[in-house]
Symmetry: C2
């Protein structure tokens, strides 16, 4: 296999996630003809393993620096020279401008989407630009990913999210896709959909509980608004996962959605929805323009 | 300063956060008299620094192992021997049983709190056990933490959350405490509180925006339910932070709360609220018992 190319020069940080100990960096490589080409390097520190920690603790004591000691609390910085020091590196080379864009830090802004703003700006925008959910139809129609399906009936299909390995129970993430083509997002939901939502929620939780031996009460089920694709789907993730898109300004619990449909039949047609949008998203510019025009 | 004590024997993992690259481990130390005492060790990997990554890239190439190569995508595991390998270690010794409990992984379970269940179980429980908010009254009455106050008027006080260092803008976390002693949580909110909530939201966002030079649209404002203390307060955090308690089964956007109070005056008295509770929390046992009695 190819060896690591040491001629990569790091240019600048594209993104930096302190919580997840992740960094994306733009690099530059001079090839044999002296031509400079772009590269993207994604670094992520690895989780701790118990055996590796035991090894670290037996390391030469000189690697420990005392930060402070206060009563029973001692704080050190440990330079891990021989254990617990693996870094995962994904190296994209040559990198296209789209790769640079994809891995650059996104700036987000909180949006108030009133029902009027949905009707006049958002709906026309998604109908024009983002209604391509052909891959979902392929799954529903049995044309692709048949082998990945976990559960299916005449109303919905359940399969692992593309980012889940299908194994690690603690990071479980499955999607429930409704079969109807007519519901693009929670904005389209009406009381007539309550039985579908109740069934999708109960049957999927029951299935996950029995297949993976976990309590159904350790699973959260939610919609994204706005969704990444406009064909109604529910995310099921483990409560302990917090980096799965379950932030309050993006996620809507299925249970709350059902309650709201019972409370007011046109809740999702009239409610102002608050969510974050990347400022380089064309939708953001349309919504900003609208606000300026009003002001 | 004291040197690192190499006699610590690691016994078992108490908690393990793969997302945050954090681990809590129980240890045992034999002191000079041969007596064994408990210790808790908290390990956390450090975020990447650009200069440190440049150093890592110049390391001996033998530290790179190829995981796979597919077209422009290359994946490696890098053993970071001389850079990017710092681990923060907090060492608690001697550790009391409460320390072990505090740092052990909590198992959470999703709860449906109906209004009836709130009235008969939760409210009596919190009135009996958790209404000790004396430290909040001390702040409101000007008896403590005067120097930490960022903003104050006759309705509320804003100050940094105890976990925020008050400096790093990207991890901003401030609390807005209402001065009224009568509102324990969102369950107590009624339409008469709308002006208070609107003012707290607008004035705090305006203040944060001008003090820290950030757009007020990059801040999310939310309540926790259940809260950690029963005196109404709002969390203000940066949108980019996702590990600040903003999960959908715990957080309620202030904007949504205001909308709901306008939609239905007794929304927070009648709405079923869904949230997670640690299974070793006494409240969890009470709620479970109730469910079993019903079944």
């Amino acid at each position: 296999m190819a060896e690591w190319n040491k001629n990569v020069r790091l240019l600048r940080t594209l993104n930096d996630d302190h919580e997840g100990k992740f960094a994306a960096v733009e690099g530059e490589v001079e090839d044999r003809d002296g031509e400079k080409k772009s590269a993207v390097l994604l670094f992520e520190k690895t989780p701790f393993q118990f055996d590796d920690l035991v090894k670290l603790m037996q390391d030469d004591e000189k690697q420990f620096k005392v930060d402070f000691i206060n009563d029973v609390y001692h704080k050190y910085t440990v330079e891990a020279r021989s254990a617990c020091n693996d870094v995962k590196l994904a190296y994209i080379y040559p990198a296209a401008p789209l790769h640079i864009k994809k891995y650059s830090k996104k700036k987000f802004s909180l949006i108030c989407e009133t029902s009027q703003c949905y009707e006049t700006i958002v709906r026309p925008y998604i109908e024009k630009n983002q209604l391509n959910a052909q891959w979902v139809y392929n799954i529903i129609d049995g044309k692709s990913e048949r082998e990945r399906i976990l559960l299916e009936n005449d109303q919905f299909i359940v399969l692992p999210d593309i980012m889940w390995d299908g194994k690690a129970i603690e990071s479980i993430h499955v999607l429930g896709l409704v079969k109807s083509h007519d519901i693009h997002s929670i904005r389209d939901l009406k009381p007539e959909h309550i039985p579908l939502l109740e069934s999708l929620l109960a049957k999927t939780k029951e299935f996950l509980s029995s297949k993976y031996g976990i309590s159904s009460k350790t699973i959260r089920a939610f919609f994204h608004y706005p969704p990444t694709f406009y064909h109604l789907h529910v995310h099921f993730t483990a409560l302990q996962n917090r980096l799965c898109g379950c932030e309050v300004e993006r996620a809507h619990l299925v249970e709350d959605v059902i309650d709201h449909l019972k409370l007011q039949s046109n809740y999702y047609q009239i409610k102002t929805l608050y969510y974050k949008v990347a400022v380089n998203d064309p939708l953001y510019k349309l919504l900003e323009q609208e606000e300026e025009d009003k002001a």
